[in-house]
C-alpha cells in the first residue's frame, strides 16, 4: 500500500496547489477591490463577456466577442469613457448552463465588472440573469431572443430583434407580398429557441388567416429527417416554417430536396450561420430567414457602412453577421448610458439605459419600451441566392 500512499499525497498536494493558485489570486483582487472603493473606480471600466468559445453555441459566442472587441477598440482609441479605458474580461463556458452561472459569478466577484454582455443564447442568459440582478450588475444580452429574460429584473437588458417582433412581421410579409396560404411548421423540441418561435409563428399565422397543413417535431442533434419529410411531402404547402438552428435546418432541406419537394424554408435567426450555407449547398437555395441585421450596401447608414468596412478589414474580407453587430451595439449602448449617467456605477447607468429611445446603432434603431424590452427596426428578411445571403427586403416595424 505504500505506493498508493504516495499517490494520495501527490494528488492531495495537486488539489491544494490548484486551490492556492485560485485563492491567492482572490486575495489580490480583494485588495484591489478595496482600493477601487476608496478611489471610486480604478483607471479601467471592466465589462465582462459571457459566452461560448467552445461547444455547441461557439459560433454565436465567437462572433459576439469580435463585435465587442471592435467596439472597445473604437471607444479606447477615441479617448476612452469618462477618461478611463474599457477592458473586456472574456470567459468561456463551453455552452454549459452550470458553467455559465459560475462564469457569471466569477466575472462579478473576481473581475468586478460593471456590466456583462451575453449570453447569446436565451437559456444561459436566464441562468445568469438572477446572479447579475442579485449582485446589481447590468447584464445586456446580445442574442437572447426567447421569452422571460428581462422580466428577471431591472438590471437585465437585451439589444436583439425579438421574435415577437420579427415573426409577425415576416408572417404578414409572406401572406401579403408572397401570397402564401398554407404552411408546414417544423419545431426542434429540445431547443428552447425553436419552441418559443413556433408559438409566435402559429399566433401570427392564425392572425393572418393562414393554414397550418402539417406539423413536425425534430430534435437538435438529429441527422436523419426522412420520416418527417415523408410526412409533409403530400401536404402541398407553400413553404416550410422551420424554427430550429442552422445544422438541422441545412440537413432538413437536404432531405426535402432528396425527396423531390420544391418548397423553400422560412425561419428565424437561428439559421444564421455559414454552416447553413455550406452544409445545405444548393438545397437551401431560396430559403429565407429574418434577423436583426444584414449587410445591405444600398440602404445601410454611414455608421453601419463604417462598421462593415472595419470588420471586413479585420477578418479577411468576411462580412459581419448579426452576432458581431449585436455585440458591438451592446458595448456602445452601455458606453452611452455610462456617459449619460456620468458614472460607471451600474445602479446609476442602468437608469439611463432604460431611457434609451430611438438610439441609432449599427444594427438599426433601438428603443427600450416600458418593460425594458427592445423594439428594433427594421426587420431584415434574408434569402439564400446562389449560395450567398442576400437581403430580400427590409420590413419596417412601428
Amino acid at each position: 500500500m505504500k505506493k498508493s500512499k504516495i499517490y494520495f499525497i501527490l494528488s492531495a498536494l495537486m488539489i491544494t496547489a490548484l486551490l492556492l493558485t485560485g485563492c491567492g489570486g482572490g486575495g489580490d483582487e480583494k485588495k484591489q477591490a478595496e482600493g477601487e472603493k476608496a478611489a471610486t473606480g480604478g483607471d479601467t471600466i471592466k465589462i465582462g463577456f459571457l459566452g461560448a468559445k467552445t461547444g455547441g453555441h461557439a459560433a454565436y459566442g465567437v462572433e459576439t466577442l469580435k463585435g465587442i472587441k471592435m467596439a472597445v477598440e473604437d471607444i479606447n482609441t477615441a479617448g476612452g469613457l469618462l477618461g478611463k479605458k474599457i477592458e473586456i474580461v472574456e470567459e468561456d463556458h463551453g455552452s454549459k448552463v452550470s458553467e455559465g452561472t459560475t462564469v457569471t459569478q466569477k466575472l462579478i466577484t473576481r473581475d468586478k465588472v460593471v456590466a456583462i454582455i451575453g449570453d447569446p443564447t436565451t437559456g444561459i442568459t436566464k441562468a445568469a440573469a438572477p446572479i447579475a440582478q442579485q449582485n446589481k450588475v447590468v447584464l445586456l444580452s446580445a442574442g437572447a431572443v426567447g421569452p422571460g429574460v428581462v422580466e428577471i429584473g431591472d438590471y437585465i437588458y437585451r439589444d436583439v430583434l425579438l421574435n415577437s417582433v420579427g415573426a409577425p412581421a415576416v408572417t404578414k410579409y409572406l401572406n401579403e407580398k408572397l401570397g402564401w396560404k398554407k404552411v408546414v411548421v417544423v419545431t426542434s423540441m429540445n431547443n428552447d429557441f425553436s419552441v418559443g418561435l413556433t408559438d409566435l409563428f402559429k399566433e401570427a399565422l392564425i392572425e393572418n388567416k393562414m393554414e397550418i397543413v402539417g406539423e413536425q417535431s425534430i430534435q437538435d442533434g438529429d441527422q436523419n429527417f426522412a420520416a418527417q419529410v415523408t410526412a409533409i411531402k403530400d401536404k402541398n404547402a407553400d413553404g416550410i416554417i422551420f424554427t430550429g438552428y442552422y445544422t438541422e435546418g441545412a440537413l432538413f432541406m437536404k432531405e426535402v430536396r432528396k425527396q423531390g419537394l420544391k418548397s423553400v424554408l422560412v425561419g428565424g435567426d437561428g439559421l444564421m450561420s455559414d454552416v447553413f450555407l455550406k452544409m445545405g449547398a444548393e438545397a437551401v437555395e431560396g430559403s429565407m430567414f429574418f434577423c436583426g441585421f444584414a449587410v445591405d450596401e444600398t440602404k445601410s447608414s454611414d455608421k453601419t457602412k463604417k462598421f462593415i468596412e472595419a470588420y471586413k478589414a479585420g477578418n479577411n474580407g468576411v462580412q459581419p453577421d448579426y452576432f458581431s453587430v449585436q455585440g458591438y451595439d451592446a458595448v456602445m449602448l452601455i458606453a452611452d448610458a455610462i456617459k449619460a449617467a456620468n458614472s460607471d456605477d451600474p445602479e446609476k447607468f442602468r437608469v439611463e439605459l432604460a431611457k434609451t429611445k430611438n438610439w441609432e446603432g449599427v444594427s438599426g434603431t433601438i428603443t427600450f419600451d416600458e418593460s425594458r424590452e427592445p423594439i428594433k427596426s427594421p426587420v431584415y428578411l434574408l434569402e439564400v441566392k446562389e449560395g450567398k445571403l442576400a437581403v430580400k427586403d427590409t420590413i419596417e416595424v412601428k
Binding site: L13, P130, M189
Partner: protein, 299 residues
C-alpha cells in the same frame, strides 16, 4: 456559518465549492452503484435531473420548505431507481450500461416534452436556497453513510456481488434485492444532489443533464479509483476544480483537462486511489487530514 465563509471566500469560490459538494454527493452515490456493487450505470445525470426537477417543482408550485423539497427529491429519485432497477438489474455489465443509457435519454426527452417542467424553455425562477454550509454538512453525512454502509453486512454482500455473483448467491445473498437496494440508495443521493443543484443554479434545462454529464460522473469515480470513497472524493475534486482553476490558460483549458485525464489513466490505470479504503487512511493520520480539508472545501 455562511457568513464565516463569505469572510474568507468570495462568491465565486463559494459557488465553485458548493458545486463541488453537490457533485461529491452525487458521485458518492454512483460509487456505491458502480464502484462497490459493480453495476455499470450510464444514467446518473438522469437521476440528478429527476431530483432537480422534483425539488424545483415542489418549491415553485407547492412552496414547501427546502428540506422537504430535498427529501422528496431524494425519495422520488430512489423510487425511480427501484422502478428502473427491478427489470434492468437482472442484466449485467455492458447490457446494464446500455439499459441505463437508454433510461437517461428517456428521462431527458420526457422532461423536454412535459408542460410542468417548462419543456425546452426550462424551469426558471427557482429560489436560491442551497448554501455552502448545508452542502458541506450533507457531504459529511454522505461520506459517513457510505463508510458505515460499506463496512456493514450489507456492504460486504455488495462487494461479494461485485467480485462474483454466483459465489455470492451460493453464500445466501439475495442478489436482486441487494442490487436494487444499492441502486435505490445510490440514486437517492443523486436525487439529493439534484435538489441542491436546482436551488443553486436556479434554472433547469433538460439539455444540461444529457449523457455527457453521466459520463462526467463516471469519469469522477473511475479516475479516483472505483469502489474507494477517498478515491471518489479525490476524482470528483480534481475533475471539478481543474476546469475552473485552469481558466488562466484560457483557450487551452479543456485541452489541459483532457491531457490530465489521459496522463492520470496511464500512470494509475486503476484510478488514483483504486482499492484504497477510508479505514486504512484513518490509520495514517497525517495523510488523512490533507485529504479531507481539500475535499471538504474548507480551504
Amino acid at each position: 456559518m455562511d457568513s464565516i465563509f463569505s469572510m474568507f471566500l468570495n462568491d465565486y469560490y463559494i459557488q465553485v465549492l458548493t458545486m463541488l459538494g453537490i457533485y461529491l454527493i452525487a458521485a458518492l452515490g454512483l460509487n456505491l452503484i458502480t464502484g462497490v456493487t459493480g453495476q455499470l450505470s450510464f444514467g446518473h445525470a438522469a437521476f440528478l435531473s429527476i431530483g432537480a426537477y422534483t425539488s424545483a417543482i415542489i418549491s415553485l408550485k407547492l412552496q414547501l420548505p427546502f428540506v422537504v423539497a430535498l427529501l422528496a427529491a431524494g425519495l422520488m429519485t430512489a423510487i425511480w431507481g427501484i422502478l428502473l432497477g427491478y427489470p434492468t438489474l437482472r442484466l449485467t455489465g455492458d447490457y446494464l450500461g446500455i439499459a441505463t443509457l437508454g433510461f437517461g435519454e428517456i428521462v431527458r426527452v420526457v422532461f423536454l416534452n412535459m408542460k410542468i417542467t417548462g419543456g425546452a424553455l426550462g424551469l426558471a425562477g427557482i429560489p436560491r436556497s442551497t448554501s455552502l454550509t448545508m452542502v458541506i454538512i450533507l457531504v459529511f453525512i454522505t461520506i459517513l453513510a457510505m463508510f458505515r454502509l460499506e463496512n456493514s453486512r450489507f456492504g460486504r454482500s455488495l462487494i461479494a456481488i461485485r467480485e462474483d455473483e454466483i459465489a455470492a448467491e451460493a453464500m445466501g445473498i439475495n442478489i436482486t434485492k441487494t442490487k436494487i437496494t444499492a441502486f435505490a440508495l445510490g440514486t437517492f443521493f443523486a436525487g439529493v444532489g439534484g435538489g441542491l443543484y436546482a436551488h443553486l443554479i436556479q434554472y433547469l434545462n433538460p439539455q444540461d443533464f444529457g449523457f455527457v454529464k453521466s459520463f462526467d460522473f463516471l469519469a469522477f469515480i473511475v479516475l479516483g479509483g472505483l469502489g474507494s470513497i477517498p478515491g471518489a472524493i479525490l476524482g470528483t475534486t480534481v475533475l471539478t476544480l481543474a476546469p475552473e482553476f485552469l481558466r488562466f490558460v484560457a483557450d487551452y483549458r479543456m485541452m489541459i483537462y483532457g491531457l490530465l485525464m489521459v496522463f492520470m489513466m496511464i500512470v494509475r490505470p486503476r484510478g488514483l486511489l483504486g482499492g484504497v479504503k477510508l479505514s486504512r487512511l484513518f490509520a495514517k493520520k497525517k495523510v488523512q487530514t490533507t485529504g479531507t480539508s481539500a475535499s471538504g472545501g474548507a480551504n
